[in-house]
Amino acid sequence: MRGNKGWLMIVMLGVSLLPWPASAAMARQEAARFLAEYQTALETRSHDALKALFADDVRIRIDLEEAGGPSQRFTLTRARFLQQIFALWRFASEQAYTFSRPQYADSEDGTLTITVTQTEQRQLFGVEGGQRDVMTMVLDHRNGVLQIVDLHSSSLLW
């Protein structure tokens, strides 16, 4: 009996010390779950759900491409970035989001990275338009909650 318990402890310790590939798979699952929450927040236009996904100190950089010209970089505050999404929800109709197959990566520092292309189609002031955002989100735990701590997007509006 005592021997069985001893073996069990050794096995459990061994599992917990295995960083690869078990932890990578878990990280991937966690990131996939996070991305699903992000997509749902957008599609259901939930202000609170979307806000909860962004850390208070998130760093947001947008490289805005313009047809025929070099891209320009904009650094946005969390408040301004979210405000723009909310304003679009207010003014746009027939909004539809599509996402490319995401790529996940985890780092030794415990952060997770999601790379995904988000494409939005919409009707705005009677004009068909949209935007394509090639996004890299870095996720980290803040107060036990997974949140975006860094967001970079190469964006094109039409």
Partner: protein, 336 residues
Amino acid sequence: MCYTARICVALIAGWLGALACAAALADSPARSLCVFSVQGTQGELFGQMRDFAVAAQTQGVTLTPRALVDERIAAEDFKADQCDAALLTGIRARAFNPFAGSIDAIGGLPDYDALRTLITLLARPELAPRMRQGPYEVAGIMPLGAAYIFLNDRRINSVEKIAGKRLAVFEHDAAQLMMAQRIGAQPVLSDVSNFSGKFNNGVVDVIAAPAIAYMALELYRGVGAHGVIVDMPVAQLTFQLVIRHQRFPEGFGHWARQYFLALFDPALKVVIASENEMLFFFPPPDSDAERYQLLLQESRIALTDAGHYDRQMMQLMKRVRCAHAPENAECSDARE
């Protein structure tokens, strides 16, 4: 018996009090307040001035607000003695008090915290003499919101590209005309009542406006799906109460400035809510932000040198800016 007597005494005291109050109101001078309000008697602003009129009774003043949708007429009526007080934008009020009227200077204050500090300072008794200019006194200042640049085309993504574009400038603000010429824009003379129509109908490409105009004047139509609003305040716009101080009791101006100071936060709440409604509201590109701040500073200095802004107010605003951000380069120079 004793109880009945007490009631009688209370009734008599109350009656005497009411009589005294009625007598005071009868003695209090009837004064008129011309209120520039785009929405006329509707909307929050005119409601606030009605409340102010009620509060003014505690100072022995019976104030009757009158709404005017044309600011030029409000200012002219005030100047022609048709009203004893007027609520005008700071740009228009500059004609009555260049010191307080220069708060709305280009690049004067970067944010609302700095504006709150300045308005608090201006409500102090030590600065009261500066609030008077001849027969006029600025007896209250409240935020109207920062002025932002609205463009109908996102491809105009630098100051250089504004050159040659049609820019609405207020005909009563020579500073705007000079600024337009400075950046090479084609100025189109306008006023508060027609600049939004010109923008929404494509007569002009660029305007400067506060966020509260966005929904009220439907500026989102002018910005459309391809325009942009630059999230960088080019000026802090204000409403200013100007009075003919000799028509009001001594100390009324100070009391009113304190009253208006208490309106700062409720007014700011409306401004912030309006800013949160604006679509395509982006900061300037990272590579240009510092350059644009410098452009605003250079323009402000040039406009002060040309006599459009009050030099003492420019110095006071610099002190406020440097108290909030002492690391700014300008805090170690003596240009303003």
